[in-house]
C-alpha cells in the first residue's frame, strides 16, 4: 500500500491512543504528514499552531504549483493539505490540483484526488463542474476500482444540474454483476433523489428491482430511497407492505448470511430501517397494520440479548407499534418494554424510555402514571438532556390541575439554561400552557412576566403578540377581563419602579403597550406617574430604538393633565430632532396629540382594542390615490422581485428605496381608526346556505381578507380557521350590544354576560404533577383541551350562525336604525336587512354610490331580493336601485320561475340561479348567467306583471370591467301582458376585478303614456369567467417566462388526507375550474384562462405547512384577483 495512505492509516492509531508521545513514535520519521502531525501535537498554543500551518501551507503551495512535482508527490501534498483544511485553515489553492489529481493520477492517486475533492468542495462549488468529465470517464472504465471511486464521489457530492449527464451511466450500473457496484449505484441514486427528486422520477421501477436484488446489501441500500419516498407519500407504496414484512421476517429469522450479523443480531440496522418504513406504512391504515402485527410481535420477542443494538431495535419496534393502527396485545407488550427502558439503570436506555413515553403518552397517559417515581427522579437528574426530556413529557400531560407545578419546573429549568434553541422551544411551551390552563389572573401575568424576562429577545415574536391580543380581546367575562388588565398594569408598574434596565426589549415593549392601553383602569394611578416611568425607559441606555417607539406610542396614549403634558413636552423636545425617523415621527405625534385632547380622543379611543380589526390588505382604499397618481404620470407599481430583476439587468445605480420605517408599533395610529371604518363592513346574513359566497359579492375587497395587522403590529397567523370565522361573522351578525360597544361609548355595553367559568375549577390548584391523569375523563391532552378547564377562552366572535334568522334580522335592524344617521354608508354595505330607514331613495343613491368607492374601494350598494319581492309592491312605489348577486337563495316563495324561459340553446349548460334584480308595478327584471365554453352569456328576463302589454322596452347595459355585446335580436323587446321577454348579452372581461358588475337600465313606455325606467345592477365573481387552460408542462414553461404580471402569497393548504397539495389543488380545480398541469413532489403547476384569451398560470409549492402560490399572467390585476378567489375557495372549504 502506498506510503501516503499508510501514513494516514498509521496516524490514527496514534491519535486513538491516549498517550500522544508513544503514538507519534509509531509514525515513520520520513513521513511529512507524520512530521506535521507530530509538530502540531507538540505545540502548546494556538498561535504557534497557526504559524506552523501557515508555513506548511506556503511550502505546499509552492510545491503544487511547480511543474516538476510528480503525481506521486502531489498525492502526498494533497494529504497534507487535507489535514490543514481539517484543522480549519484554508487551502483553496489546492482545490484545483485535487481535481487534476483525480483526473490524471493512477488508481490510487485518483483515489486521493477524489478524496481531497470530496473533503474540500461542496455541492455548489463551481470547481466541481470540472470533475464531471472525470467522473463520466471513470464510470465507463473497465477497472472496478475506478468505477467504485467515481460512484463514491458521486454519492457524496455532485452538481445538481449535471445529474442528467451521468444518470444513464449510473442506472446502467444497477445491473452490474458486482454487488458492491450495484450497491453504490443505488446509493448514488438515493443521493440524486435527495437533491433533485424529479430527476430520478422515471426510474422508480428500477428501485423496485434493487429492492428485489439477490444481494441483501443492495436491497438494504434501496431501503434508504424507500424510506424517503414512503415518508413523503405513504399511499403510493402500500402494495409493498407485504414485501417489507417478508424481508423483515427473513432477517429476523436469521436467513441472511452471517456477514450481516452484528453481535449475533442479524442485520440490526436493516431491521431498524424496515421498522421505520413499516411505521410510515401502517400509520392510520388498519389493513396494512394488520399485516405487520405478527412480525412486530416476533421482533419484540427475539430482541432479548442484553446489548445496545437490540435495544435500538426494540425502541424502533415500540415506536412502530404505537404509530400504526393499535392492537391491544401488542400495545401491552410495547408498554412493558418501555417500562424496562425507563427503569433501566443504563442512562442511555432511561433516556430513550422517557423519549418513548413522551411519544406514547398521548395515547396512553396511564403509562406515565405508572412511572411517576422515575419521572420525578429524572426531573432532578444531573444530566440536562434527561431533565429536558422529562419536561417535554410533563408538557404533554399538563392539565388544569397540575399546570402550576409543571410550569414552575419548566421555568426553573429555563432560568439555568444557556442554550438558545432550548430556550426558544421551552418558552413557547410555557406560554402555550399558561394561556391554555392558567388557574388565575395573578399566576398568568406572573408566569408570562417570567417568560418574557427569561425568553428575552430570542423568543418567537408570536408569544408577546398573542399575549397582547389576548389582553386586548379579553375573554368571556368582562369583570375578569378588567381584573386581568388591572393586574397586568399593577405588576408592570412595580417592575418599572424596580430595575427596568435589566428587562429584555420585547418585555419592555409589552409593558409599554399595556401601560399605554390600560393604565387608566387603575384610577388612583396618576397619568404623570406612568409617564415618568415610561420616560425613565427612554433615558435608559440599553433601550433599543424600536422599544423607544413603543414607549413614545404608549406615552401618546397616556398623556393627560398638566403635569403629564409637560413631561410629554420634555420628551418631545429630546426626540423630535432624533436621527431615527421612526422615533422622530412618534415624538411629533406625541407632541401634537398631547396638546390636542379632542383629537387624541378621536385618534386613540380607549377600549378600541376589544373589537377585532379587519384590515384591507389589498389596500383598495388607496385605489383612488393610485389612479390619480398614475394619471399624473407616476410610474406603475412593480413587485419587489421584478424591480430587483430589472435592477440586476440594468446594472445601474442602486435605486432601492429606503427600508420602510415601519416597526411593530408604527402602524398603531392608523389601525386605531380601523374598527369604526372597517369592522362593520363585511356583513352577511345567516339565512342562506350560500352565506359566504354572498358575502363575497357584498364587499368584495374586504371580506375574506385575512386579518394580518393588529393593533400591536403584524399578527402571526396561528389560527387560520378562527381568523376566517372572525371575518365571516362580524358586522350585522353581532348582537346589538356588541355593536354598540364598537361604535358607542363603552358604558352602554353590557347587557348579556356570558356565563362565568365554573368557580371550583378555577380555585382548584394542582398539588401534584399527576393530578387529573388518573381518570380518562378529566384528561387534558395536547391538541384536545377541554373547554371547561380552559380559562382564557377567546371571546366568541359574534353569535353562532345557527341562531334563528328572524332574530338576527331584528337585531340587525335595531342596530341599523340606531346608527342610521351617522353610519348610513356602513349600513348600506351590509344591509341584508329590511330597514326602511337605511334604504336609499333614488335621490340619495347617486351621491352615495359616488362616495362609497372613494371611502372604501369597491363596495356595492345592495339590498336583498327579499326586499324587492316582499316590499316593493306595497312600500316603494318608485324605482329602486338594487343589486343582487347570483347566489341561490333559500326562501323564494313568491318568485316567479323563469327557468322555463331560458333559451333552449342553453339547456345543457351550467347556469346560475335566476335572481330578481329590480321591479316596479309593471315590470320585474331578473337575470342569470350561463357559462359557455368560450363565453359568458347574461340572460335578462323581464316579466310584465301588468295587464297591458308594454310595446317598447329598451334595455341598456354598461360596465367598467366588462364588454357587453348584444346577442341575437335587438335589445328592444316587447313584453305582452303577464309574460316574459328575454334578452341575451355576451360578456367578456375588459379589466379583471375580483367581482365584476353590469349596470343596466330598462326604459319603457306604458300605454298610458308615462315613461318609466327601472335600474338594476348585476354582479358576478370573476370566477364565472375562468375556464381551464390545457397546456403541457413545456408550454407552461415558456408561457411562464413571457408573462409579466404576477403576485405571490402564502395560503393555508387544505389537509384532508396524506396529500395536502393534491387535496388543495383538487379543491381549486373543482371550485375555480383550473387545469392542473402537473404535480411534481411538493410543487404543482396549474393553468387557467379568463374566457378565450387571457391566460393565468399558477405555481404552488408546499413548504412547511404553507402553500406558496405564485400567479402570473400577461393581464394586469388578473393574478391578484385570482389569488383572492383561491384564498376564498380554500377558506370556504
Amino acid at each position: 500500500m502506498s506510503d501516503v495512505v499508510e501514513k494516514t492509516l498509521t496516524a490514527l492509531p496514534s491519535l486513538l491512543s491516549l498517550d500522544s508521545h508513544s503514538g507519534s513514535t509509531k509514525l515513520s520519521s520520513s513521513s511529512k504528514l507524520g512530521n506535521l502531525i507530530r509538530g502540531i501535537t507538540e505545540l502548546t498554543s494556538k498561535h504557534e499552531e497557526e504559524k506552523l500551518i501557515q508555513r506548511e501551507l506556503a511550502s505546499i503551495k509552492e510545491q503544487v504549483s511547480s511543474p516538476n512535482t510528480s503525481m506521486r508527490q502531489m498525492k502526498e501534498l494533497m494529504v497534507r493539505a487535507i489535514y490543514c483544511e481539517m484543522l480549519g485553515y484554508e487551502a483553496s489553492f489546492s482545490y484545483i490540483h485535487a481535481i487534476k489529481l483525480a483526473q490524471q493520477g493512477t488508481a490510487l492517486e485518483k483515489r486521493v484526488g477524489y478524496l481531497a475533492v470530496s473533503l474540500f468542495l461542496n455541492e455548489s462549488h463551481e470547481l466541481l463542474l470540472l470533475l464531471v468529465n472525470t467522473v463520466l470517464k471513470d464510470l465507463q472504465s473497465t477497472n472496478l476500482i475506478e468505477v467504485c471511486m467515481a460512484l463514491t464521489v458521486v454519492s457524496q457530492m455532485f452538481p445538481k444540474d449535471m445529474i442528467p449527464a451521468i444518470l444513464p451511466l449510473v442506472e446502467e450500473k444497477l445491473t452490474h454483476p458486482k454487488e458492491i457496484i450495484r450497491r453504490k449505484a443505488v446509493l448514488a441514486l438515493y443521493k440524486f433523489y435527495l437533491i433533485a427528486p424529479n430527476q430520478v422520477q422515471h426510474i422508480h421501477n428500477k428501485f423496485r428491482k434493487a429492492l428485489c436484488d439477490k444481494d441483501p446489501g443492495v436491497m438494504t441500500a434501496s431501503l434508504h430511497i424507500y424510506l424517503q419516498m414512503i415518508q413523503e407519500n405513504p399511499e403510493g407504496y402500500k402494495d409493498l407492505t407485504a414485501s417489507f414484512v417478508t424481508i423483515l421476517k427473513q432477517v429476523v429469522a436469521g436467513k441472511l448470511p452471517m456477514d450481516f450479523n452484528y453481535h449475533s443480531v442479524p442485520a440490526p440496522w436493516l431491521q431498524i430501517q424496515l421498522l421505520r418504513i413499516l411505521a410510515f406504512l401502517g400509520k392510520n391504515d388498519q389493513s396494512s397494520s394488520e399485516i405487520m402485527y405478527d412480525i412486530l410481535e416476533e421482533s419484540l420477542r427475539r430482541a432479548e440479548i442484553n446489548h445496545n443494538i437490540t435495544y435500538a431495535i426494540l425502541y424502533e419496534c415500540v415506536k412502530c407499534i404505537y404509530t400504526i393502527h393499535p392492537k391491544s396485545e401488542l400495545l401491552e407488550k410495547a408498554a412493558k418494554c418501555i417500562g424496562n427502558f425507563v427503569l433501566s439503570t443504563k442512562i442511555n436506555l432511561k433516556y430513550l424510555g422517557l423519549k418513548a413515553l413522551t411519544y406514547v403518552v398521548q395515547q396512553d397517559p396511564k403509562l406515565a402514571l405508572q412511572h411517576q417515581v422515575t419521572i420525578i427522579e429524572c426531573l432532578d437528574h444531573p444530566d440536562l438532556i434527561i431533565k429536558r426530556e422529562t419536561l417535554e413529557l410533563l408538557f404533554r400531560i399538563t392539565n388544569a390541575q397540575n399546570v402550576a407545578v409543571i410550569v414552575e419546573k419548566m421555568l426553573e429549568f429555563l432560568r439555568g439554561n444557556k442554550d438558545d434553541y432550548t430556550t426558544i422551544d421551552l418558552v413557547g411551551k410555557v406560554a402555550e400552557l399558561a394561556e391554555k390552563y392558567a388557574p388565575n389572573n395573578e399566576w398568568f401575568i406572573e408566569t408570562m412576566s417570567t417568560v418574557f424576562s427569561v425568553g428575552g429577545d430570542t423568543m418567537q415574536p408570536d408569544i408577546p403578540n398573542s399575549f397582547l391580543k389576548l389582553l386586548s380581546e379579553g375573554f368571556d367575562s368582562v369583570e375578569e377581563d378588567r381584573k386581568l388588565k388591572l393586574f397586568a398594569v399593577d405588576s408592570y408598574v412595580s417592575l418599572l419602579q424596580g430595575e427596568p434596565g435589566k428587562l429584555p426589549q420585547r418585555f419592555l415593549q409589552v409593558i409599554s403597550w399595556v401601560l399605554g392601553e390600560y393604565s387608566y383602569l387603575r384610577g388612583e394611578l396618576d397619568a404623570a406617574t406612568v409617564l415618568r416611568l415610561l420616560a425613565k425607559l427612554l433615558d435608559t441606555k440599553s433601550t433599543s430604538s424600536e422599544t423607544k417607539s413603543w414607549v413614545l406610542m404608549a406615552m401618546t396614549k397616556v398623556c393627560e393633565g398638566g403635569v403629564g403634558v409637560s413631561v410629554a413636552q420634555e420628551v418631545c423636545e429630546t426626540y423630535s430632532s432624533s436621527l431615527d425617523t421612526a422615533l422622530r415621527q412618534r415624538a411629533q405625534e406625541l407632541q401634537h396629540l398631547s396638546q390636542d385632547r379632542d383629537l387624541r380622543a378621536k385618534v386613540l379611543p380607549r377600549e378600541a382594542g376589544s373589537e377585532p380589526l379587519e384590515v384591507d390588505s389589498s389596500l383598495s382604499f388607496l385605489d383612488g390615490f393610485v389612479s390619480e397618481a398614475l394619471a399624473a404620470g407616476a410610474a406603475p407599481y412593480k413587485p419587489h422581485h421584478q424591480r430587483q430583476e430589472e435592477l440586476a439587468q440594468a446594472k445601474a445605480l442602486s435605486m432601492e428605496p429606503y427600508g420602510l420605517p415601519i416597526s411593530m408599533s408604527s402602524c398603531s395610529i392608523a389601525d386605531r381608526q380601523s374598527p369604526t371604518l372597517l369592522s362593520v363592513s363585511s356583513g352577511l346574513s345567516g339565512d342562506s346556505p350560500s352565506l359566504s359566497q354572498k358575502g363575497g359579492s357584498t364587499t368584495p375587497k374586504l371580506d375574506g381578507v385575512k386579518r394580518v395587522w393588529g393593533r400591536q403590529g403584524y399578527l402571526v397567523q396561528t389560527e387560520p380557521v378562527e381568523e376566517s370565522d372572525l371575518v365571516e361573522v362580524t358586522g350585522p351578525l353581532q348582537s346589538p350590544n356588541q355593536q354598540a360597544g364598537a361604535d358607542g361609548p363603552p358604558s352602554q355595553t353590557p347587557t348579556l354576560k356570558p356565563t362565568p367559568q365554573p368557580e371550583q375549577e378555577k380555585q382548584q390548584l394542582a398539588s401534584s404533577l399527576f393530578v387529573g391523569l388518573g381518570s380518562q375523563s378529566s384528561l387534558c391532552l395536547m391538541g384536545k383541551p377541554e373547554a371547561t378547564t380552559q380559562r382564557f377562552r377567546r371571546k366568541a366572535k359574534g353569535p353562532v350562525l345557527s341562531s334563528s334568522t328572524g332574530e338576527q334580522i331584528s337585531n340587525s335592524s335595531v342596530s341599523a336604525s340606531s346608527m342610521a344617521n351617522n353610519l348610513l354608508c356602513n349600513d348600506l354595505l351590509d344591509s341584508n336587512i329590511t330597514s326602511e330607514t337605511a334604504a336609499p331613495s333614488l335621490e340619495q343613491t347617486p351621491q352615495l354610490s359616488r362616495d362609497l368607492p372613494a371611502a372604501n374601494g369597491a363596495c356595492a350598494v345592495e339590498s336583498t331580493d327579499r326586499d324587492v319581492k316582499e316590499n316593493s309592491a306595497s312600500l316603494i312605489g318608485d324605482n329602486r336601485l338594487v343589486a343582487a348577486d347570483p347566489a341561490p337563495r333559500g326562501d323564494r316563495g313568491k318568485l316567479k320561475d323563469f327557468s322555463a324561459h331560458l333559451p333552449a340553446e342553453f339547456s345543457g349548460l351550467c347556469h346560475s340561479d335566476i335572481s330578481p334584480l329590480a321591479s316596479n308595478q309593471s315590470l320585474d327584471v331578473s337575470a342569470c348567467h350561463v357559462q359557455k365554453e368560450d363565453s359568458l352569456v347574461l340572460v335578462v328576463f323581464m316579466y310584465n306583471s301588468s295587464d297591458d302589454a308594454i310595446p317598447h322596452i329598451l334595455l341598456e347595459l354598461r360596465s367598467d370591467e366588462l364588454e357587453v355585446s348584444c346577442e341575437g335580436d335587438s335589445p328592444v323587446e316587447e313584453a305582452r301582458s303577464r309574460s316574459v321577454a328575454v334578452c341575451q348579452y355576451s360578456l367578456t372581461v375588459k379589466k379583471p376585478s375580483v367581482h365584476v358588475e353590469v349596470a343596466g337600465t330598462v326604459s319603457y313606455q306604458l300605454p298610458v303614456g308615462t315613461s318609466q325606467s327601472v335600474q338594476f345592477s348585476y354582479k358576478l365573481p370573476l370566477t364565472s369567467f375562468i375556464r381551464p387552460l390545457t397546456v403541457s408542462t413545456e408550454e407552461y414553461g415558456t408561457m411562464w417566462l413571457d408573462f409579466s404580471h404576477d403576485t405571490k402569497q402564502k395560503l393555508t393548504p387544505i389537509c384532508l388526507g396524506q396529500e395536502p397539495l393534491m387535496d388543495t389543488l383538487n379543491v381549486l380545480k373543482k371550485k375555480l375550474k383550473l387545469h392542473v398541469v402537473e404535480i411534481i413532489g411538493m410543487e404543482g403547476i396549474v393553468a387557467c384562462r379568463v374566457l378565450r384569451d387571457q391566460p393565468c398560470l399558477m405555481h404552488c409549492r408546499l413548504h412547511a405547512g404553507a402553500l406558496s402560490v405564485w400567479l402570473r399572467s400577461p393581464v394586469p390585476d388578473l393574478p391578484d384577483c385570482l389569488m383572492y378567489h383561491c384564498q376564498r375557495a380554500l377558506q370556504e372549504h
Partner: protein, 122 residues
C-alpha cells in the same frame, strides 16, 4: 440521516471531519467548536446523546477522543451509537461504511475486504 461525523480530542482539535451537509468553512469551524463545548462538559455517567440545534449528537468517548455523529432528531440514537462503535479508522473506511449520509456497510469483514482490494493496488 447523518449530518456530519467529527472526531475530536479533548482539547477540541479535530482529528477527522466528514460533512454530509453543505456548510461553509466558517460555519464548519463554528460547529466544531460548539460540538466540542457541548460534548466535553458532559459527565461519563451522562447519556451519549445531546440535543444540538435542530439535530442531535450521538457521541462516544474512546480514551482521549470523542467520536461524534450528528443526526436528525427522528433517527434511532442507539443504532448510531453502535454505528460509532462499529466503525474503524480512516477516511477510506468511513467511505466504505457511510455513503450519502447513511450507513452503507456494517460487515467489518467486507469493509476489510474492500480495504484489502485497495491495498492490492500497490
Amino acid at each position: 440521516m447523518i449530518r456530519f461525523i467529527l472526531i475530536q480530542n479533548r482539547a477540541g482539535k479535530t482529528r477527522l471531519a466528514k460533512w454530509y451537509m453543505q456548510f461553509d468553512d466558517d460555519e464548519k469551524q463554528k460547529l466544531i467548536e460548539e460540538v466540542h463545548a457541548v460534548v466535553t462538559v458532559r459527565d461519563a455517567k451522562h447519556t451519549n446523546f445531546v440535543e444540538f440545534r435542530n439535530f442531535k449528537i450521538i457521541y462516544r468517548r474512546y480514551a482521549g477522543l470523542y467520536f461524534c455523529i450528528c443526526v436528525d432528531v427522528t433517527d434511532n440514537n442507539l443504532a448510531y451509537l453502535e454505528g460509532i462503535h462499529n466503525f474503524v479508522e480512516v477516511y477510506t473506511v468511513v467511505d466504505e461504511m457511510f455513503l450519502a449520509g447513511e450507513i452503507r456497510e456494517t460487515s467489518q469483514t467486507k469493509v476489510l475486504k474492500q480495504l484489502l482490494m485497495l491495498q492490492s493496488l500497490e
